[in-house]
Symmetry: C2
Subunit: 142 residues, 2 copies
Amino acid sequence: MTYDPQNPFAKILRGELPCVRVYEDEATVAIMDIMPQAEGHVLVLTKEPAAEIFDLSADGAAACMRTAQRVAAAVKAALAPEGLVIGQFNGAAAGQTVPHVHFHILPRYEGQALRPHGSVHADTEALNALAARIKAALSKQG
Amino acid sequence: MTYDPQNPFAKILRGELPCVRVYEDEATVAIMDIMPQAEGHVLVLTKEPAAEIFDLSADGAAACMRTAQRVAAAVKAALAPEGLVIGQFNGAAAGQTVPHVHFHILPRYEGQALRPHGSVHADTEALNALAARIKAALSKQG
């Protein structure tokens, strides 16, 4: 995929679109997916203008992993899913829909299939409530 | 999941089981999946005795990401898949089958569904041939 500076994640990073943020550092931002495939679905965005993992610097990839690991632990602590997937998709053939590198943090609950990608818009208040629980768990990581 | 030092990846790391290796450094090993879900399916293993991402050190996670990014680029260069997924599963509910942290590098080919996890044993000569192409691409990364 070619990088498009008008992609929705680039707009979120520039403050041109709203988001429900759970974490931010110099290299990454973590936000609630607004069309979650499971309760507590979080996206970790790089701040680099990179479309695919092949375009991302090694430092940028390491920063995404650090944030993904922290957020995954916080999601587990806050929501107690039975499983958790970290997924990163490159190319339309791999299911990528936004040309800006992002890592999915996907809680898995016993007996619950994932909802199809981008199928149902979540209620903002529900996302805010989940984000508050995840942020509380992050703050306990010290 | 609880770490089990007799899991197959631990045995591979100790040299007690064979594998088709494409890469190794001080913290990680990358091997061909012997029951690949797609042609060129590679696994990046941490050398730490960690069952899930929550048990892995931050340095160990960064090392896995570094190797995953390198191997992903080599798989893309060698096999030219239209897409590529990096996936890491924690817990049986997330599809984890071996209690040792590993990252899937999954090439995606247009119009080809993934084979079910662990369904068909690959031919060792075919895996060796794929590994040779991926290693050649890795060696060109400098």
